[in-house]
C-alpha cells in the first residue's frame, strides 16, 4: 500500500480533472467560448511528454556512466511513453485548432516544433532497432539521446519565442505566465498536469517492468 499511494493519487487527480474540466464554470471569452476547457486536456499532455523525455535523458546519462542495462530500458520506455503523449498532445491540439483557429495545421511555430521533436524521438527508435547487440545498441542510442535533448530544448522553448505565435506566452514573454490564466481555471489545471504526469510515469514503470521480465525469460 505504501508504494501505491501515488498511483491512487494519479487516478483521483485525473478523474477530478476530467469531471472538473467538463463541468466547472469557465470564463466566457470570444472565439474560445467553451472550447477553453481543452486547456485541461491538451496542455497536460505536453507537460507529461517533457517530463518523460527529461527522464529518458537522465537515464541515458546514467547508462553512459554506469553501463547498467536497466537504465537503458528505462530510457527507451520513457521515450516511448513521451512519444505517445506527444502524439496525444498534437491530436488534441489539432482538433481544437480546427474549430478555433480555423485549420488543424496553422503553421504555428510551437506546433511545428513539437512535430519535429517527435521526429527526433522516432529517429531514436529507428536507430535502436537498427542494431542487434544490446550493449552497443544501448551505448549508441544513449549518445544520440543525450545529443538530441539540448537541441530539442532550444527548439521547443527558445525558437517559438522569436516569432509570433498563436499560442500564449510567445513573442518575448515567458513561456508560461501564471498571471495570464483565468483564476477559475487554475484549480482544475494544476491537478490535471500533475495527474497526467503521474499517469505517464505509471505507464512507464509498467512497461519497464514488462521489458525486464521479458529480458529475464529470453
Amino acid at each position: 500500500m505504501n508504494k501505491s499511494w501515488w498511483k491512487i493519487l494519479a487516478i483521483v487527480l485525473v478523474l477530478f480533472s476530467i469531471t472538473g474540466g467538463l463541468l466547472f464554470p469557465v470564463p466566457a471569452k470570444p472565439i474560445l467560448n467553451e472550447s477553453i476547457r481543452n486547456i485541461h486536456f491538451h496542455v497536460p499532455m505536453w507537460f507529461a511528454m517533457i517530463v518523460m523525455l527529461l527522464v529518458s535523458f537522465i537515464y541515458s546519462i546514467k547508462y553512459l556512466n554506469k553501463g547498467d542495462e536497466n537504465d537503458d530500458l528505462m530510457a527507451v520506455e520513457s521515450a516511448n511513453v513521451g512519444i505517445i503523449f506527444g502524439l496525444l498532445g498534437l491530436v488534441t491540439g489539432m482538433v481544437w485548432a480546427k474549430y478555433t483557429w480555423g485549420e488543424p495545421w496553422s503553421n504555428d511555430p510551437k506546433q511545428n516544433s513539437s512535430a519535429i521533436a517527435l521526429l527526433i524521438y522516432m529517429a531514436y527508435m529507428v536507430l535502436r532497432n537498427s542494431m542487434e547487440e544490446e550493449q552497443k545498441r544501448g551505448k549508441i542510442s544513449s549518445v544520440y539521446n543525450v545529443f538530441a535533448f539540448p537541441i530539442m530544448i532550444v527548439l521547443l522553448f527558445v525558437l517559438p519565442r522569436m516569432t509570433d505565435s498563436l499560442h500564449p506566452g510567445n513573442g518575448g514573454n515567458p513561456g508560461f505566465n501564471t498571471n495570464d490564466m483565468a483564476p477559475e481555471l487554475r484549480p482544475v489545471f494544476y491537478p490535471a498536469c500533475l495527474g497526467w504526469i503521474l499517469i505517464a510515469s505509471w505507464i512507464t514503470t509498467l512497461r519497464y517492468r514488462i521489458r525486464k521480465q521479458e529480458n529475464l525469460i529470453s
Partner: protein
C-alpha cells in the same frame, strides 16, 4: 604531445588523404553543381526571393549530408584502432569538425557562386548573406560530424544519416533561413543580431555535447 598538436596533425592527415585521392572532394563538388543545374532546369527562373533563398538552403542541406556522411564511414576498423592507441577522442572529434567546417566552406562558396550564376542573384546585402552562409557551414558541419559518427557505428551506415540528422538540423535551418532572408531583403544589420546569437549558442551547445559524448562512442 599536446591536444593542440594532435589536432593539427590529424587535420593535416585529413587534408592529405583528401588531396591524394581527390575522389571524394571532386565527387561532392560535382554533386552540388549538378544539383544546382537540375534545379535550374526544373525551375528555369525564380522570381520570388524567399523561394530563391529556401531552394539554396535545401541544396546546401542535401549536399552537406552527402559530404559529411563519409567522414567516419570511410575510416577502416584497423585505422580506427590505430587512432585509439595514439590519440584521444577529443582530438579526433575536434579535428573532424574543423576539417568538415573547411570542407563545407569550400562547398558553400562554390554552391553559392554557381547558384547565383544560373539563377539571377537578388541579394540585397551580399556581405551579410555571405556571413549567414559561413555560419550555416559551421553549424551544418558541427551537427553532421557527430551524427555521422553515430550513424557509422550503427550497422545501417549512410541510410540512417538523413533521418537522424534532419530533425536535429531543422532548428538551425529555421534560424539560418530567417537570417539569410534578412540579408536578402537588405534589412538593417542590427535586426539580425538575435539570430546570430542563437546560431552561435546552438553551435556552442552542439560542440560541447559532441566533446562530452564522443569518448563514449569511439570505443564501440
Amino acid at each position: 604531445m599536446s591536444l593542440f598538436h594532435q589536432i593539427k596533425f590529424l587535420i593535416r592527415k585529413e587534408l592529405m588523404l583528401e588531396w591524394r585521392s581527390r575522389y571524394a572532394l571532386n565527387g561532392i563538388l560535382l554533386y552540388v553543381v549538378s544539383t544546382v543545374f537540375v534545379c535550374y532546369l526544373s525551375f528555369r527562373e525564380i522570381s520570388n526571393p524567399p523561394t530563391w533563398n529556401a531552394l539554396f538552403w535545401i541544396i546546401m542541406l542535401f549536399a552537406s549530408v552527402n559530404a559529411i556522411t563519409k567522414s567516419f564511414i570511410q575510416e577502416s576498423r584497423g585505422r580506427q584502432l590505430y587512432y585509439y592507441t595514439i590519440t584521444g577522442p577529443q582530438a579526433i572529434i575536434i579535428s573532424k569538425i574543423i576539417y568538415n567546417v573547411l570542407l563545407m566552406l569550400l562547398l558553400s562558396v562554390i554552391a553559392l557562386g554557381f547558384y547565383s550564376l544560373v539563377f539571377k542573384n537578388p541579394v540585397g546585402d551580399p556581405l551579410f548573406y555571405m556571413l549567414s552562409v559561413v555560419l550555416g557551414s559551421i553549424s551544418f558541419a558541427s551537427v553532421f560530424t557527430m551524427i555521422s559518427g553515430i550513424a557509422s557505428k550503427s550497422g545501417a551506415g549512410g541510410s540512417l544519416m538523413a533521418i537522424l540528422s534532419f530533425p536535429l538540423v531543422i532548428p538551425l535551418l529555421i534560424v539560418l533561413i530567417k537570417l539569410s532572408k534578412n540579408a536578402l531583403d537588405g534589412l538593417d544589420r542590427s535586426v539580425s543580431l538575435d539570430e546570430i546569437a542563437i546560431l552561435l549558442a546552438i553551435n556552442v551547445i552542439v560542440i560541447t555535447t559532441s566533446l562530452l559524448l564522443f569518448p563514449f562512442l569511439w570505443r564501440e
